[in-house]
Symmetry: C2
Amino acid sequence: MKQNRKIVLSESEMPKQWYNITADMKNQPQPLLNPGTREPLKAAEMEGLFAKELVAQEFSSQRWHDIPEEVLELYKIYRPTPLVRAYGLERALDTPAKIYFKNESVSPVGSHKLNTAIPQAYYNKVQGITNITTETGAGQWGSAMSVACQHFGLDLNVFMVRQSYDAKPYRKVVIKSYGGKVHASPSALTEYGRSLLAGDPSNRGSLGIAISEAVEMAVTNPGTKYTLGSVLDHVLLHQTIIGLEAEKQMEMAGEFPDKIIACFGGGSNFAGISFPFLRHKLTGDGNSKAAGLKLIAAEPAACPKLSRGKLEYDFGDTAGMTPLIPMYTLGHDFAPEQIHAAGLRYHGGGRIVSRLKADGFLDSIAVEQTEAFAAGLLFAKSEGIIPAPESTHAIAATIREALKAKESGKSEVILFNLSGHGLLDMAAYEEYLP
Amino acid sequence: MKQNRKIVLSESEMPKQWYNITADMKNQPQPLLNPGTREPLKAAEMEGLFAKELVAQEFSSQRWHDIPEEVLELYKIYRPTPLVRAYGLERALDTPAKIYFKNESVSPVGSHKLNTAIPQAYYNKVQGITNITTETGAGQWGSAMSVACQHFGLDLNVFMVRQSYDAKPYRKVVIKSYGGKVHASPSALTEYGRSLLAGDPSNRGSLGIAISEAVEMAVTNPGTKYTLGSVLDHVLLHQTIIGLEAEKQMEMAGEFPDKIIACFGGGSNFAGISFPFLRHKLTGDGNSKAAGLKLIAAEPAACPKLSRGKLEYDFGDTAGMTPLIPMYTLGHDFAPEQIHAAGLRYHGGGRIVSRLKADGFLDSIAVEQTEAFAAGLLFAKSEGIIPAPESTHAIAATIREALKAKESGKSEVILFNLSGHGLLDMAAYEEYLP
């Protein structure tokens, strides 16, 4: 009998803990630095910007972190998400490879971002914080935070990269429908924004600039904290729910992946799907298949921080307000082309992923936008789901690997993360269609 | 322990048959008539327009119809869909009512329409048809047909109501991304379209006009058949997969609904969710709760065919090219206001639903657009999902019933169908937001 297309878990089978990979890394990632003193950042210094519990997670070396009951409850809006055997794509490619994808697009805001938005809002709420600021590039993160803040009764201000604000008109309405406030960045609401607009009133913005504005608003307003949708350790921690579910589901299918592929912006969906599997390789716990596991980060050719960046200390934002992060970076003032995958237009790779890359635990490949959209359309036609522009990069990399497998006649198991759907990005598809 | 939020079925638990309610109706719906002779329409006459097997289903009195294996396989892209206990909405309303909804919005095109698009494309393919025409109002049906036609290798032409074509720019890109061709209606591609444009070049179109154009293209081109997304018996038949799944899921929750609510355009999502439950009332099969079951069709106040229409023979389209249908109708030339819920702007109620309404098996209520959007936003904030403008009517009706239950202190069980999400309708929400 043919295997099921979707492998599903019940709510009671949802993992109850997140996985912290730093507990299992022989070479620890280097610490964040205070940009003034260049001394290792202290937790107390970070607590001005982030909720205490999130800072505690950022500095934690504990392997497993309990997921709070309130967070689990809200996860159930869309979790557990299905693991899907991509029979349609396999047929279209005529490949002997078995392709699986984790379908994070079933989230009501259309991407994996809710996985960390919910706990971030929760920990702020618990601490008595009333106001949250954040930035958004593609709009996925801003939408997710607006759902989470709405649920926990937090006021939310989202700085949205001007380019996306104009190109993705539906995204800001989504944010507003959930009760969030959204501002095109650079904006007149912050000193940094005003200074940029003074120099260039038609500044199109960038993720780095939007972060600077959100940080400025958080530090200059009492009762206000900042939240970040990727890059930092605690964000990656929350996203491991993806891979922990996928691990159970792959077991149900009787498989362990040979390759895991995800698109790469700040690293959170990549870490989320791959770290729980990678732990078997790091710990050498006897999983015989883990030794051969390959991880592939799919970057846009327009912003290839892992493939072309340098491993060094750099700022997380453009204005230089964040701590210094040891990471593969194209430079915090790098201005990538205006590709449609706005969520991948970030200059740096985060400290954990960068350490793992330096130690040879993952590969990266750079994908041109045209190849990515062609892959997205093939996926839509063969699997019925229109992927987010970001996710098309993972699909393009998957197709490359599946075609290699066809050439070599090898029946390998590929798992990729479908980080989101593209229904709010149809303007991008329109441009690509003939 | 708290009950699960989502009640899920595995793929193997998916129903293998559709339910034909006419087998259990004491008063049979009246036949369709040939508009020329006013004689009952013969199957052979209908086969000029529709695939043979669909016509056979249209004329069938058989209670259960096997779902073909190829259709089941494609259903698995998104089915079974979750049944969800709306704890968030219950809390927001502080109601003793238990509210459940069937989440058809998880379909990759965002609505229940794929449930019938897949079998319609399949039966056409089996018959050797190569080209399909159809119309679309909101765009949901056109998107669904484009997925299904793509899968079975059929060429598709979609006539999209001009009003929606302009107001919902993303929808047509979705259709194109899946490989369908889409034309604003009225168009210059048909004689009828050209005649309308000659009279009024800025004609905004209507569902009735778009149907006329799609029918004309089908009958004037060899190897081409027409498909319809609602109203007809075979469409309702396919949609019963919704209610058959929901029945299993309600059983798992230990419940039988007191009230079932769905929005009402041509009747397919309403029939889909409710007929499998109604069968227990029609057959008096000993289900003690079925006797008290109430069905509520939620119509837009701008197009209240069931609440205000007359039960009489009328055309399904504006030009008068279809058979005559015995149904509650506002007149085939009725021009409803340009409300956002384009999928509900249809003048008639179909023959089965109209018969059931005349025999007292269902109630209808008319909902103003402002009430519908307010309900939609409350649902988005409390359940995390932005509903389609059409579905907001069902939510508004559900809220009315839940507040009545609060007033009377009655703990009743309400089940409604979330026919689709609104992510492709954010322009409509934007207009409604302050």
